[in-house]
């Protein structure tokens, strides 16, 4: 496997790509020119489908399928939303994309919007990303002046309006139905599915919601073709992925690697291993909602569709043996207790009680009743909540109980 192939980060260190001139000099907006020249949205929709690109937000849903559903809908009015509500703890890949290469994101947004026939696209950005919002505003202005979006894009008949919508920094608004609620002005909480956003999304119209990283792959696919893209990475989940390495490694940061790389390679080769004198304990894959991976499982591949763990947002936290697990537990449970939307009983009450117990664990006052309660709460979070948030909230705690034996 060629680990050096780069799709998103290729020119990050070469030039200041925030300037549209620099971006164009490295082949920027060529994909859009190509699309406008062909004016064949079906062809490019097929290319994206052939690329087998999977959603990079965490769920790994095929982007081509979503795209097809919206593009093929009977409704005339459609919307496109770029999900930039990145709020998983330890994850800053989307922020890095905006910081380094905002135009790649914008180009992807324009192409995807035109493919599905949307006249209006939103960038839903985390409310804490003030600086990134500014970068995007400037980039959008530059692109607008060059007629890359607006009315009559590059003198064609295509029209597109792009707007930035700043959320309030709620974790749950990264979930697409909650995100849609938030743009509509309602409380940020998930909605019942079906209907899926691809049928009835924003303002009741078919809506395509894609993660910022997914969108950043689009211009490459348009230029080089879906089949080429499918050759990169592992068979079932092609392409590259941004991994955010953090914790007790020597070289933390954002790394672009083909999917299918093993956790061991990422931590010990790319990340340079652990600092001197520190001993590996476990790694958490996918932010606070991720599973814990022990030493013996390190050869597992980082790819979508893995049945033992989900790579989620791509954040990898390396934890060494000097860490106090109870502090970590309190941090996880505190996060979920704060970020639950409060809609359904098991999540609202369960995350609160789990946090309460984590506090007692830290104080060393855990009782037998608490141990039983932990079991019940984890079970109800995994099985009865309204949206997947409950499962996320339970994942790390569950592994801490089963793999690290914290309750013994």
């Amino acid at each position: 496997m060629n680990k050096n192939i780069k799709i998103i980060t290729k020119y990050w260190d070469v030039a200041d790509l925030k300037k549209i001139k620099n971006y164009e000099s490295f082949g920027g907006y060529k994909a859009l020119h190509k699309f406008i020249k062909d004016k064949n949205s079906d062809k490019f929709a097929d290319e994206i489908k052939n690329s087998s690109l999977l959603g990079r937000g965490g769920a790994g849903f095929p982007t081509g399928d979503k795209l097809e559903a919206v593009a093929g809908s009977g409704e005339k009015e459609r919307y496109f939303i770029c999900n930039l509500d990145e709020s998983e703890p330890g994850t800053y890949k989307d922020r890095a994309i905006v910081d380094n290469d905002p135009h790649k994101l914008i180009e992807g947004i324009i192409i995807l919007s035109l493919i599905i026939g949307a006249r209006k696209a939103f960038i839903y950005i985390n409310g804490n990303y003030g600086k990134q919002e500014e970068i995007l505003e400037n980039a959008l202005e530059e692109a607008y002046k060059k007629k890359y979006w607006g009315e009559k894009i590059l003198k064609s008949d295509y029209n597109l309006e792009i707007g930035i919508f700043s959320g309030a920094g709620a974790y749950i608004c990264g979930e697409e139905t909650a995100l849609i609620n938030s743009i509509e002005g309602s409380r940020g909480e998930p909605k019942m599915r079906p209907p899926y956003p691809t049928e009835k999304g924003l303002f009741g119209k078919p809506t395509l919601v894609n993660n910022a990283e997914t969108i950043s792959n689009i211009s490459w696919i348009v230029i080089y073709g879906g089949e080429e893209y499918a050759k990169i990475g592992s068979k079932n989940s092609p392409g590259t992925k941004l991994f955010v390495l953090g914790g007790a490694v020597k070289k933390p940061g954002v790394y672009e690697l083909p999917l299918g790389v093993t956790i061991r390679e990422l931590i010990f080769e790319i990340g340079g291993g652990l600092a001197k004198g520190k001993e590996f304990w476990f790694a958490q894959i996918g932010g606070s909602s991720g599973r814990l991976i022990m030493e013996k499982e390190l050869d597992a591949k980082l790819e979508f569709g893995n049945k033992d763990f989900s790579i989620g947002s791509g954040a990898i936290l390396v934890v060494d043996k000097t860490t106090n697990i109870y502090d970590l537990l309190l941090s996880w449970t505190g996060f979920f207790r704060r970020e639950s939307c409060g809609k359904c009983v098991p999540c609202r009450e369960g995350t609160f009680r789990l946090w309460e117990i984590a506090k007692r664990l830290q104080d060393g006052e855990i009782s037998e009743a608490d141990k039983k309660a932990v079991k019940d709460i984890l079970w109800t979070l995994e099985n009865t909540t309204f949206c997947p948030f409950g499962k996320f909230a339970a994942a790390a705690f569950r592994d801490a109980v089963e793999k690290l034996k914290i309750l013994k």
């Binding site: 409380r187 019942m192 970020e339 639950s340 009983v345 009680r353 109800t380 009865t384 309204f386």
Partner: protein, 349 residues
Amino acid sequence: MPLERGRRIMCMNIRINNKIYEAREEETVLDVCRREGIRIPTLCAFSGLPKETVCRLCLVEINLTDKLVPSCAFQVCEKLEVTTESERINKARRINLELLWADHAGKCAGCRKNRMCELQNLAEEYKIENFHFVPRKEEITDVEERDLLKDNKSRVVIDNKNPAIFRTTEYCIECRRCINICPDKAFGFNHRAGDVVVGTPYEKTLDCSFCGKCVEVCPTAALTDQNDFGKIIKDLDNLKKMAVAVVDWEMEKGVLRQLKNMKSQKNFDDLLTELGFEKIINLSKEETKNEAIKNIKADYARKEKINPESIVIFFISNKIEKKANKDEYLDYILSEREIARLARDRKII
């Protein structure tokens, strides 16, 4: 096939607990089960209101997925097989009930909704007696104070300033019935996660048309009728005063319904007499209470040589909006719920 508004309604057979039942399209699993008398516990579902699926008690197993699905929102379809009772379902219901019950356990005896509370009934039905958690909702309004205590307490909002509806979030289970039923859209959510409280914008004192629908649908004691029971009981017991009940049209039915929920079959007139009302006037549909009250205060008082001042008029009606705007001569307004509460407190039922 039945016709509804000129459109053919599709019918189908579904299996519930291994028995075949007929179901119509657009019906949910809960609709069919309610119709057929199959018991499924619910707290948020309420007929006519949007299906919120937030209480997670009506979960059932189906043959289409391994996951538990909320029966209140799951629409019937061909070849559907439903199981409403199993160890897994029971476990889910018990845990979720227990999580809610933590803030209610031990508070029933002094509660306004005692014996009239849906959560209490369910907790009894599912024998929730564990005390894994301490109550977290207590009246600590100051955020700083709460943080100082570090005692895992959540804030409680109490509104006793409005004339008709007493609100306390201490007993609120966030079922959303009041939010959905309110014609004035007076309620919504404030804050999120464990701090979520149902309340008015900016937590101002409730100021609405006081139709009382929210009090009617509230499953717990979060929303109850506002009244000075101490004063009412004093006036009812005062031998020097004559308590007159002016009973609104169709109120008898309402009160009897409340009694039935509390498993009592008491006769309406007996109940009022035992409560201490000395005269009962039943209004017909056309009669207005003002006329009736005037008759008593003027004609009746003169005839019986009673000082009109010592006649206390109780208007028994669900029109609790009148509490905000009381008419002349009218002393108290009691809703059907309050009559039941009075009867309960006085150990008549």
